[in-house]
C-alpha cells in the first residue's frame, strides 16, 4: 500500500522535519537559557559556546562517517591524546610548526587506518577493533610521556586556539570549514555516496562492484584524521598535551551524532545534524554552568537530554513509517 503520491510527499516533509526538529530543539534551549540568565545571549558568550563545542564537533564529524557505515569508533578520544603528545614532543624537539602539525594528523590517521584494516581485513566487529585501539592508543600515549603532560609552546602555535579573525576564534572557523567540507564530501563525492550505501546494505553495495573494504578503511582513517585535528586545537588551547586528554570524548561524539539524527544502524543521517547535536551539548553545559548547577547534576541532565532527544526522534520516525 505504499506507492502513493500523497503519502510520499508527507513522508518527504517528515524527513526534513527531523533536521528542523533538532535545530528547533537547539533554539528552544537557547531561549530558555536566555530567559533564565540574560548573560547567555551575549556575543562573547555565544562565541565561547561555539569554541567549547569545536573539539567534540570535529571529533564527531569522523564519528558520523563511521556510524553512517553502520560502524562505531570507540578509540577517538585515546587517539586524540596520542596524536597530541606525538605532536607536542615534535614541537619540543624543535621541529618546524607545519611538520609537527602534520605529525599529529598522520598519527591520528594511521591509528584510524589500523582500526579500519582490523575491521575490513581482520573481519573484527568495529566495536572490538576500536575498543582495542582505544586501550592501545591510550597506553602508548601514557608510556611515551611517562604519564606527564608536555606543556609550554610558542605563541605561533598557540595562535591556533587564541587567534581571532573578525572576532571569530580560529577553532570556530576551522570547525565551520570542516563541516562544509564534510557536507560536500557526503553529498557530492563517491566516498560520500558509498558511505551511505555501505551503511544501508553492505552486501548489495559489494555486489554493485564497490570496493567496500577500501572505503570502510578510509572512513576509519578519516575518523583518526579528525581526532588528530582536534588534538592540535585542544593542545593549543590548553598550552599542554596530556596523555589523559580526550577521556570519554568518544561518548560525547556518539551522543552528538545520535542527537543529530544519524541512525546507529547506518545509512541514514546528516553531518549538519551532528553539528547541531554538538552545539546542543555545548549550550547545555554552558547554560548549566551559568546557572551554577553542580557538575554532578550536569551529567544527569545531559544524559537525560540524550535519552529524551532520541526517544522523541524514534517516536517521530515510527509515525512517519507506519501510519
Amino acid at each position: 500500500m505504499r506507492p502513493n503520491g500523497i503519502a510520499l510527499r508527507q513522508n518527504f516533509l517528515l524527513h526534513h522535519a527531523r533536521q528542523l526538529g533538532t535545530l528547533s530543539g537547539l533554539l528552544v534551549l537557547g531561549l530558555v537559557l536566555w530567559a533564565l540568565t540574560p548573560h547567555f545571549l551575549t556575543l562573547s558568550n555565544l562565541l565561547n559556546v561555539a569554541e567549547q563545542a569545536t573539539i567534540i564537533a570535529i571529533v564527531a564529524v569522523g564519528m558520523t562517517f563511521v556510524i553512517l557505515t553502520a560502524g562505531i569508533d570507540l578509540s577517538v578520544g585515546s587517539v586524540l591524546a596520542f596524536a597530541g603528545v606525538v605532536m607536542a614532543s615534535a614541537l619540543h624537539a624543535g621541529a618546524p610548526l607545519p611538520f609537527a602539525l602534520l605529525a599529529g594528523l598522520v598519527t591520528g590517521t594511521v591509528c584510524g587506518l589500523v582500526s579500519g584494516l582490523l575491521i575490513t581485513l581482520g573481519r573484527l566487529p568495529p566495536f572490538i577493533a576500536t575498543l582495542g585501539m582505544m586501550s592501545v592508543a591510550r597506553g602508548t600515549a601514557l608510556m611515551y610521556t611517562g604519564g606527564r603532560p608536555i606543556s609550554g609552546f610558542s605563541e605561533n602555535f598557540r595562535w591556533l586556539a587564541t587567534g581571532e579573525v573578525l572576532r571569530v576564534p580560529i577553532p570556530v572557523i576551522v570547525m565551520i570549514g570542516i563541516y562544509a567540507i564534510a557536507f560536500f564530501v557526503l553529498t557530492r563525492t563517491k566516498l560520500g555516496r558509498y558511505t551511505y550505501a555501505i551503511g544501508g546494505n553492505e552486501e548489495a553495495t559489494h555486489l554493485s562492484g564497490v570496493n567496500v573494504r577500501f572505503y570502510k578503511t578510509v572512513v576509519y582513517g578519516l575518523a583518526g584524521l579528525f581526532s588528530g585535528l582536534a588534538a592540535i586545537l585542544l593542545t593549543a588551547r590548553l598550552n599542554s598535551a596530556q596523555p589523559i586528554a580526550g577521556m570519554m570524548y568518544e561518548l560525547d561524539a556518539i551522543a552528538a551524532t545520535v542527537i543529530g539524527g544519524t541512525s546507529l544502524l547506518g545509512g541514514e543521517g546528516h553531518v549538519l545534524g551532528t553539528l547541531i547535536g554538538a552545539l546542543i551539548m555545548a549550550v547545555l553545559r554552558n547554560g548549566l554552568n551559568l546557572l551554577g548547577v553542580s557538575s554532578f547534576l550536569q551529567q544527569v541532565v545531559i544524559g537525560s537530554v540524550i535519552i529524551v532527544g532520541v526517544l522523541i526522534d524514534m517516536a517521530l520516525k515510527r509515525r512517519g513509517k507506519y501510519s
Binding site: 500500500m1 505504499r2 506507492p3 503520491g5 500523497i6 510527499r9 550505501a197 552486501e203 554493485s208 570496493n211
Partner: protein
Amino acid sequence: METAPLLKMSQISKTFPGVLALDKVDFELRRGEVHVLLGENGAGKSTLMKILSGAYQKSSGEIELDGVPVSIKNPRHAQDLGISTIYQELNLIPHLSIAENIFLGREPSKFASVIDQRALVRAARELLKGLGLTVDPSARVKRLGIAEQQMVEVAKALSLETRILIMDEPTSALSQQEIKQLFATIRRLKEGGVSIIYISHRLEELFELGDRVTVLRDGRSVATCEVAETSKPELIRLMVNRELTEQFPKRQATIGEEILRLEGLTTSGLRDISFSLHKGEVLGIAGLMGAGRTELAQAIFGVEKIEAGQIYVKGKARRITSPRRAINCGIGFLTEDRKSQGLVLRLSVGENLCLPSVDKFSSWGMVDRNKEKLACRRYIQELRIRTPSLKQKVSFLSGGNQQKVVLGKWLCSEAEIFIFDEPTRGVDVGAKAEIYELINRLTAEGVAIIMISSELPEVLGMSDRVLVMRSGEIAGEFSAYEATQERVLQCALMA
C-alpha cells in the same frame, strides 16, 4: 452443506494518511477450507491479513469469529483467538533449538520457572510427528533448511491451538520437492479442521491446493469463487482487469556470436561446469534448490572463489575475482533476494540505479550529479519504473518496480551479459509480463541472458536453451524444442 462461516470480515476499510489501503473489503472463511487470497502487489492482501492478525487496526468494518463480533487488539490477542500467521520471512531464533522455538514464551516449567527440558522436547516431538517430520527437536534451528524451518513455524502455530492459519507466500523459497511436502502438510492440517488463508502469486498452486479464492484489486474485493469453477485466464483478468493473452510473449532475437564461455569451472560447490553463451540468447538454468544454480551465478560474478577452470569473455580469458571485475567485463547480476542483495533500501531510486556506475559519472572522486540524473531519467522512462521522483526512497516502491530498479542498475552499467536469479519471485502477474517483455527487448539488442528460475513454465517459456543442474554439476542440456517439464524435472531429480 452450507454452514456458518468461521470468520467473517465485512466492509473492512483501512486508511493510512493520504492512502485508502482497503476499501470496504468482504472476506469469509469456512471451517477447514484453504482459501487463497489473490491480488497484485499493493492490492491490499497484506494489509487485510495484518488487520486479522492484530498488527494493524481497521479503520472501519466488522470482524465476526464464530458469529461473535470481535475486535482484535494486538497480535497476542489474535493468537489467543486461534489466529496464527506464518510470514514470508520466518520468525525463528536461529540459536535456539526447535523445541525452544516452538514453545518460546510458553515453556513448560517445573518450579521457580526452571524450564522442564524433557517435557519441552517431548511435546515438540509429538507435534513434529503429527506433521510427519522426523527431525530431532533439540537440534538448533539454524541447522535446518528453509522448508524445515517453515515446518517448525507450522508446529508452533499448532501448539497455539490455531484455528485460522495465515500463510504468506510460503512456497517462494522452496524447491518443487519441498513444495510437495508443504502441500501434504497443509492438506493434513485441513483434515484436522484448521482453516487456511493462503497468499500466493502462483496460480498453479491455487488450482492444486485451494478450495476457494478471493481476488483483491486496488484495495477492494473483486470476487470470491470456488476454485473448481474458475480458470487461470479469468483470475488473471480479475486481478489486473485486462487479458494477458500470452504469458510468455514470442520473441524474435537472432542469436549471435559467443560472448561468454566457461571451461571446467570448479568451486567449493561446483564441479567441472562448461558451457557457452551467445549474444541475444536466453540460457535457462533449471534445477532443485541446492543444485548449485546460485553458486554458478556467484562464481561468474566473482563472489565465489574459483578453484579451477577458466572464464572467457568475448574469447578472452578473464580472471574474475570480485564483482568490480565482473562489472568491468560487462556482467550484471540480478540477485535472487533483491532486498538484501540487490538494493540499498534506504537510498533513493536514483542512487540505487547508479550505484555500480558511479565511476562513470565522476571525476576526481566527485560525482557529476547532472550527468547522473540524465542517465537515471532515461532508465526510469525506458523501464517504466513507477516512482514520483528520482529522490524517492526505493523501499517505497512496489516489488515489481524495485525489480526494475535492479535491472536498471545493470543497464546503466552497460552490461552485456545479464544473470537473472529468480527474476519474478515475489512480483505480481502484471509486473511479471513486463519483466518478460524487457528480457525480450534486451536480447533483441544483443544482450546475452542467463536465467535461473524455479518456475519451470518460466524457464521453458523464455529460454532458447536449458541447462539442468544437479548437485553442483550440469546434468543435462536441452534445446527449446526438446525441453518439456517432464524431461527437465526428471533430469533434475535423477539420483
